[in-house]
Symmetry: C2
Subunit: 269 residues, 2 copies
């Protein structure tokens, strides 16, 4: 039997690039952050990605503030999404919700500074299929080679393999070879359990697909179609803009189709 | 590399169950049939399924009339979709367009009466994954067992394997185990090339998925999501209601994602 799974819906909306969120973080005002999180949960988010950027100043204080602000309004899992290891550590120290470090790769500084935090805090961690120079691998084979290396590094922590969540890196379709890469992403999600020999958890950041300027209706069509393709390939977690209503509806519909229960129309939004 | 493919979009709209089509066939009036076909092509159909039912009376005359009416307005491939072997033969004799017999199964009377027509007319033929008693197999394994038997029977004709198009039979989600079956359909489409050892062509009738009473918005959501799942699984032909605009848009979007060309927004409808 081919394994199928439902996808955890993770909001990518809590981003420092959002001006109101940025201002709230600068001023340590929890209100706008908590309102954003409540709207995400209302829109269908089952987990929240906290993305404060690289946090050049007051990194630890800001990350603590963000994690505390968010966990005051939800018990959902939180993804701590920064490349700043000090901020990650500060966030992990205060986080009471289920937590996922987002994330590491085989880049030497990430293996050295970020991966050990998973061990120290017994946290789940996202591993990106990026090469050791930080570049996106060029095809399916290269992604699988990186996956084996990434898994090897992760296994060295002694954590159980279920705590690793692999991100095969969706490419913008507008990249020269973007759609080829995105087909490779589908293949890699499907093949990883065979290659690594256990039911590997995977995550993908759907908004990457349509990065760049494009007409909204077409963006939504591309996003919903590719999301269902990811679901059919066995994706276990999807990071998306939960304010894209059609995309969330599609995610829920895919989950209804992938669930083992008897079907009822109530499951379709 | 995992093989991916675009899907041929086939209209399932030309059906005898449609009252105007039924009346036109009874009265041998080509107008309503040709108008329907032109609307299907306009809506995105790349091939037309001609489904006149079992044709209890004047079967041969009616099938000839239908095929001639349709091929006067399109050069697209035609699927001759009836269980009546005499009607099939009559249609095959007059058909000048590329033609696909739809179809046979391992039921004895179909092996005896329908499969030989593919050999005689050197036609492509759809093979349904139905058991020899006409029932739908209960799971993925049973479908694959039937597929091997079906392929064996087809191979006996001496036709090249590329002329066989396997239909794994989408189940209505409202069946007791409907969504389990529909997951098995996805697996089977993916696994068939490995099992049979060549790039097996596949077809699926999408309208089956939402057969029975259901709210239109939910029906569309289910249809588009499952269609993209079929595309990700490697489906090569899809039979659908081309007047479902969102479904056709999704099919075209999937094809843009599965095509090897450089992506442009013009490919997305």
């Amino acid at each position: 039997m081919t394994p199928f799974t439902t996808m955890l819906i993770i909001a990518d909306n809590l981003q420092i690039t959002h001006p109101e969120i940025s201002a709230a973080v600068q001023q340590f005002r929890p209100g706008p952050i908590q309102e954003m999180v409540s709207r995400c949960i209302e829109a269908g988010a089952q987990a929240i990605d906290i993305n404060p950027g690289p946090l050049p100043r007051e990194a630890e204080k800001k990350m603590r503030f963000l994690v505390n602000a968010v966990q005051e309004v939800t018990d959902s899992p939180l993804l701590l999404d920064t490349t700043n290891p000090d901020a990650l550590e500060a966030g992990l120290r205060v986080c009471k919700n289920p937590v996922i470090i987002n994330g590491f790769s085989i880049e030497p500084h990430k293996l050295e500074r970020i991966l050990p935090l998973a061990r120290r805090f017994d946290a789940d961690i996202v591993g990106y299929l990026l090469m050791d120079n930080g570049q996106v691998p060029s095809d399916e084979t290269d992604r699988l080679v990186v996956a084996v290396e990434l898994y090897g590094a992760f296994a060295g922590t002694g954590l159980p393999p279920e705590k690793l969540i692999i991100d095969p890196i969706i490419a913008p379709v507008l990249w020269d070879n973007g759609i080829e890469q995105d087909r490779a992403v589908l293949s890699v999600i499907r093949i990883l359990p065979e290659i690594l020999g256990y039911p590997v958890r995977t995550i993908a950041a759907l908004s990457n697909l349509t990065a760049g300027h494009c007409p909204r209706a077409k963006r939504m069509l591309l996003e919903t179609a590719y999301l269902a393709m990811l679901a059919a390939s066995g994706l276990t977690m999807v990071l998306l803009n939960v304010f894209h209503r059609d995309t969330v509806k599609t995610a829920k519909t895919c989950n209804a189709l992938m669930d083992s229960k008897v079907f009822t129309w109530e499951e379709i939004p």
